[in-house]
């Protein structure tokens, strides 16, 4: 009972604010709605027993990435950010195509659910205890089996950081140390 209320609440918030995010003209509003979506998704993670991802989502996504977005939106011109979405035929067509694709995928999920035992996927979840304690299990996995990808990810982040700094550095300005 509580579980489904929570799920529908989070899912509703996520989908609604995602839709609002795509349709708002103002980029800051989009960012705020994306933050709402991300927080709702974090709630879904928590419901799925992924505590660590829940907090990683909040700290990294909302506290890090989205702040970066807002920062950049603040830096670039406002009247550009306020551009209207011009409704064009192209957009309509694209949206319809995506909707059709979505309907197909939805149908697949729906019918796959109707075919128990066909081996498409398991209907019921494993007990939550299998993943507890979550952060310890995650850490074990991360630092044993996935150590190399982990290191690569850290290198990726470093490269991205350096790249972003190089990219965003103002070359016109005379270098001035304070």
């Amino acid at each position: 009972m509580l579980d489904s209320i929570l799920f529908y609440f989070f899912a509703g918030v996520a989908v609604t604010s995602a839709a609002l995010m795509v349709t708002r003209r103002n980029a800051i509003h989009s960012a705020v709605f994306l933050i709402t979506t991300l927080l709702a998704t974090a709630g879904i993670f928590l419901q799925l027993g992924a505590e660590f991802l829940f907090i990683a989502q909040i700290i990294l996504y909302v506290g890090g990435i989205m702040v970066l977005f807002i920062f950049v939106i603040m830096l670039v011109r406002l009247d550009v950010a306020l551009q209207h979405i011009r409704f064009r035929m192209k957009n309509l067509v694209v949206t319809i195509v995506i909707a059709v694709l979505g309907a197909e995928a939805g149908a697949i999920i729906y019918y796959a659910r109707k075919l128990p035992g066909q081996g498409l996927f398991i209907q019921n979840m494993a007990p939550a205890e299998k993943l507890a304690p979550n952060s310890e299990r995650l850490a074990e996995s991360l630092f044993s089996g996935y150590l190399l990808p982990f290191e690569i990810a850290s290198v990726l982040l470093l490269v991205a950081m350096v790249g972003a700094v190089v990219m965003a550095k103002n070359k016109k300005r005379t270098p001035e140390e304070s």
Partner: protein
């Protein structure tokens, strides 16, 4: 019975402690924050040779309520060119983040809303850091240059100092080996020492970083009133402003709680493991500690009696008497279960005291430590001038963050040494801690020297030819 009603009843039965704690947090914390403001003003007045608020209520004790009423009935101004939605939303984010993060804090062994979440400390950190979304959005939405400069400063500052603070916390987490809040306190109990003594450098870095995170002087640049009028809050007034303000003070309580949990032993009393040597029997020591909160309240009462005669007005004298009386009554109420417990009286009263006493004592010690931490905040605010933005950034990136990283390694190596050495555990611990601290401090000294030389040469270079260039 109606199944829905039954479901609700079951739900309530399972979750009533959490629900009550949650309601208490939402209802009480704003009030507490208001009184923290009053305490701050009183302390500031005391340090500045004046009286502070005296008009509303005896010794200004009703001032926070009067302030709240004033702010509530103030005209609600939204600047014409502002972004209304965001302007409306931003202070709410600030406040909600601070209150939500309190959910996972353990204000004692019994008072915790989100009990036993595995990532407790990360939850508190992560959610409280969302508060600065409120700051940056509010600064942007106000559409004022002061606000936006304040918001930009705030973002840069929070990002830098959260990094330093997070790295400092890692040292303590290494020592405790868990993210669970009760686990961290338990680890300090089991290791017989508060982590502030095992990782003093980390505790200090966290102190500095937490001052910066809460935008308090000397790091109050985002709202530096002499430079940016009020920074990101410039365009805010009335109740929205009050939300920001309460958010800031609630945040102070949050960082104070984090520091208390991680470094100051949480709800543990001093010397929690010391059960008395041969001279004093175990029960007496425990009972003595149990009586400390009551004695503390009693002392406040005695002080009130002492001050009562010196009040300028009759009403204030009576008020002081009343406060003293209240203190004595509460102290007596507090002392009874402790005494019952000590005397080993069983029965209903005895079992009740056994159930209630540890929780109450824990909350007392926890709040005492948090108050001490917040007092340090205030003390620094009244004493120190404000940093400049570039100095703030240099301090964060060139000194605190490298220092925190080195400290993590120092603590890690010290832990390895302690784990592998076959010496006396306590001796190894002391030695390793001292060594780790010394290494870190040496590194700090090097950093500071390097940094000083660097800024000196930089400022000399920028001053000499450039300063008069049009």
């Amino acid at each position: 019975m109606n199944p829905t009603l039954h479901g609700i009843l079951v739900f309530l039965e399972t979750w009533w402690v959490e629900l009550t704690s949650g309601i208490v947090i939402v209802a009480v914390v704003p009030l507490v924050a208001g009184y923290v403001v009053l305490v701050e003003r009183k302390l500031m007045a005391d340090m500045q040779a004046r009286l502070g608020p005296m008009r509303v209520g005896p010794h200004g004790l009703l001032q926070p309520i009067a302030d709240a009423v004033k702010l509530l009935i103030k005209e609600d101004i939204i600047p014409a060119e502002s972004d209304k939605l965001i302007f409306w939303l931003a202070p709410v984010i600030s406040m909600v983040a601070a209150l939500t993060s309190m959910g996972a804090i353990a204000f004692g062994p019994a008072f915790q809303v989100a009990r036993d979440i595995n990532i407790g400390i990360l939850f508190v950190l992560g959610v409280s850091s969302l508060g600065f979304l409120g700051i940056i959005l509010g600064g942007w939405a106000s559409n004022s240059h002061y606000s936006i400069i304040g918001a930009l400063r705030s973002t840069a500052q929070l990002v830098s100092y959260e990094t330093a603070g997070g790295l400092a916390i890692i040292s303590a987490l290494l020592l405790s080996g868990t993210l669970k809040i009760s686990g961290i306190v338990q680890a300090q109990y089991e290791q017989h020492v508060w982590f502030v003594f095992l990782a003093p450098v980390a505790a200090f870095i966290y102190l500095v970083a937490s001052i910066a995170e809460t935008n308090r002087a000397p790091f109050d640049l985002p709202e530096a009133e002499s430079e940016l009028v009020a920074g990101y809050m410039t365009e805010y007034s009335g109740f929205r402003w009050a939300l920001y303000f309460l958010g800031e003070y609630a945040n102070m309580i949050v960082v104070g709680s984090i520091a208390t949990t991680l470094f100051l032993g949480g709800w543990l009393r001093p010397f929690p493991n010391w059960k008395g040597s041969g001279l004093i029997p175990e029960g007496i020591v425990d009972a003595g500690w149990d009586l400390v909160p009551a004695a503390f309240l009693g002392l406040i009462g005695v002080y009130c009696l002492y001050r009562a005669g010196k009040q300028p007005a009759k009403a204030q004298t009576w008020f002081m008497w009343a406060v003293a009386l209240a203190c004595f009554v509460v102290a007596a109420l507090y002392a009874i279960p402790a005494l019952l417990f000590a005397m080993g009286i069983g029965g209903v009263a005895g079992s009740l005291s056994v159930a209630v006493l540890p929780g109450l004592n824990g909350a007392f010690w926890f709040l005492l430590k948090v108050s001490g931490y917040i007092y340090v905040f205030m003390w620094l605010r009244f004493t120190l001038p404000r940093y400049r933005f570039d100095q703030l950034m240099h301090l964060g990136w060139y000194i605190l963050i490298p220092l925190a990283i080195v400290n993590i390694f120092a603590v890690g190596v010290a832990m390895l040494v302690v784990a592998n050495a076959n010496w006396n555990h306590g001796l190894a611990l002391t030695l390793a801690t001292i060594l780790g601290t010394v290494v870190t401090l040496l590194f700090a000294a090097l950093l500071v020297r390097w940094h000083d030389r660097r800024t000196e040469s930089a400022s000399a270079a920028s001053m000499a030819p450039d300063s008069y260039a049009g």
